[in-house]
């Protein structure tokens, strides 16, 4: 049980709790805009950036972030070109990211490059620099989302109406893309690239069936994220399970419970 008091575990808890605020919050907006898969895409691109970071010896998370931002612009460009085929842009950039990552990983063979820790996360290896990055990302994302909550709601619900209201829709879209890239890059080390989108999308999926209002869903997604991450980390610590996988499976359990609970009221 003394793993729970170990310093690395406490760091994991802090990092996890912070990501559990931002990831589901941003994920809610992405899911509602039918961009649920954007998390996966940016995560894979980000991995390519991490590999590149190792190769050129620059803080890998930062390189991952830059590449993710570039990719998010790419997605937005393709999304505009192929209106109403949002998923197409995502598929293209995603495979591009994986291709680049696999290429860089082979080039980097022999370097001290632990692929698994980025694919599946390594929350126990978070250092103070990682925590600092996650904290900064949390402050930025939380600040922007709370300040622009109304406008983001309108943009998400009805992009045309937002535009007719005189909101700078294009800048808002760019803003969301950048925030997403920030959150993904910061959370890769925690849940791993393969599982990043779980924390983005599953809380939102629960709120779609559970909440009556937008206000409620904002509170609900964060609450679900926190429960899954904190409980998941605790269970993983006690029973020596893979933390990322435990968190994601807990999220799925919560989703199933929500679906069963609401089965009678909705078809």
């Amino acid at each position: 049980m003394d793993i729970l008091t170990a310093e690395f575990f406490q760091r994991a808890l802090i990092g996890g709790a912070l990501i559990a605020i931002t990831s589901p919050l941003l994920g809610l907006f992405l899911v509602l805009r039918r961009l649920a898969m954007i998390g996966d895409t940016l995560a894979h691109v980000s991995i390519a950036g991490v590999a590149l970071g190792f190769l050129i010896n620059i803080y890998p998370v930062a390189v991952g972030l830059v590449l993710a931002i570039v990719a998010s612009f790419g997605i937005e460009l393709l999304r505009r070109r192929y209106r109403s085929f949002a998923e197409l842009s995502i598929a293209i950039i995603m495979s591009g990211g994986i291709a680049l990552a696999s290429l860089l990983f082979t080039v980097g063979k022999g370097y001290n490059l632990d692929v698994n820790s980025y694919l599946f996360g390594s929350i126990y290896t978070l250092d103070n620099a990682d925590i600092l990055v996650i904290a900064i990302v949390t402050v930025i994302v939380l600040g922007v989302v709370l300040a622009l909550k109304k406008e983001l709601f309108l943009l998400t619900f009805d992009e045309d109406a937002a535009s007719v209201s005189g909101l700078p829709v294009r800048y808002f879209n760019i803003l969301i893309s950048i925030l997403t890239a920030l959150v993904i890059s910061a959370s890769i080390k925690i849940v791993g690239a393969l599982l990043v989108s779980a924390l983005l999308t599953i809380p939102a999926a629960c709120s779609l069936v559970l909440s009556k209002s937008f206000r409620q869903s904002i509170i609900l997604v964060v609450a679900i994220g926190e429960v899954a991450v904190v409980l998941g980390l605790w269970m993983a610590g006690v029973w020596n399970l893979a933390p990322g996988g435990t968190i994601v499976l807990l999220l799925i359990a919560i989703l199933l419970a929500s679906l069963v609970m609401t089965r009678r009221t909705r078809v």
Partner: protein, 282 residues
């Protein structure tokens, strides 16, 4: 494709203005088929042309919507009705030509709260977690409200808009649970919450039953007659439009025709004209 624009039957003639008072009786007998020129231009289209790639949708459309006009825009499928409305609200840019809103060219127009827009069949996700109240309130979120919290007054306005459209009891329902007609009212309430001067509606009555349609149309007419709102509406329902706006279109452009009815009597105009002339003399 050429365009024929039927000229204003009573074209504003500045030279005649001072003597209008004399011909008051005359003007009373004439149905108010055209808009008195004393009202400011709300929307003006000058040689508006639009094409998707090589496909021409409309060529050189010229038309002016004046304050208190109710304009019914009619045309067959593909005539460009929706395209025209989307250009007027800035969602599409004309290939050439100019659109002015409240006298200001589109590119410099900032007063978007003056315009309420109800798009054709809102295709939002029925599972979207938003209440009717949240959707109506979102009509206030624009440039002016950026980075500001919703105030108590905002909530009162939402309440008023909900009551006006008789959907107060639905306020806490999820928008997706409502019927088509109820949803249409929600979007109209959202458009009305800003007290707009101009309401733009794109086939507001499609997909709802006849009785609801009639109620809805009567509501629009009431707003036009009593609340001095200017309307620009695309409609499929020729009967309904003709019954209020008359058989003959004011203007035609390609496959688009504009039916217009003005909401107030000509005398109002004459008064202001008279004042103007008195002021000039004095």
């Amino acid at each position: 494709m050429t365009t024929t624009v039927v000229p204003d039957s009573v074209a504003p003639d500045p030279n005649v203005a001072p003597v209008v008072a004399v011909s008051l009786n005359d003007s009373n007998e004439r149905p108010p088929a055209s808009t008195p020129s004393c009202h400011r231009e709300i929307v003006s289209l000058q040689d508006v042309t639009f094409s998707y790639g090589s496909q021409h949708v409309m060529d050189n459309v010229n038309f002016v919507v004046r304050e208190r006009d109710f304009v019914g825009l009619i045309g067959s499928n593909g005539a460009g009705k929706t395209t025209l409305l989307r250009m007027i609200v800035g969602l599409l840019r004309p290939t050439s030509g100019e659109i002015k809103l409240f006298g200001t060219p589109m590119s410099r127009f900032k007063e978007w709260q003056l315009i309420g827009y109800v798009p054709q069949r809102n295709h939002f996700n029925p599972l979207f977690p938003a209440t009717v109240r949240e959707v109506v309130l979102s009509g206030l979120y624009g440039r002016r409200k950026l980075l500001r919290r919703s105030t108590k007054e905002d909530h009162l306005r939402a309440e008023d808009a909900l009551k006006t459209l008789k959907i107060g009891d639905l306020a806490e329902k999820r928008i997706g649970e409502l019927s088509g007609g109820q949803q249409q009212r929600v979007f109209l309430a959202r458009a009305l919450i800003n007290n707009p001067k101009l309401l733009i509606l794109d086939e507001p009555m499609s997909g709802i039953d006849t009785e609801t349609q009639n109620n809805f149309f009567n509501l629009l007419l009431h707003m036009h007659k009593k609340h001095n709102i200017t309307f620009l509406m695309v409609s499929h329902d020729l009967d309904m439009v003709r019954s209020y706006l008359g058989e003959a279109p004011r203007a035609k452009s390609g496959k688009l025709s504009f039916h217009v009815r003005h909401s107030h009597d000509l005398e109002d105009c004459v008064e202001t004209d008279l004042l103007h002339s008195l002021r000039q003399e004095g």
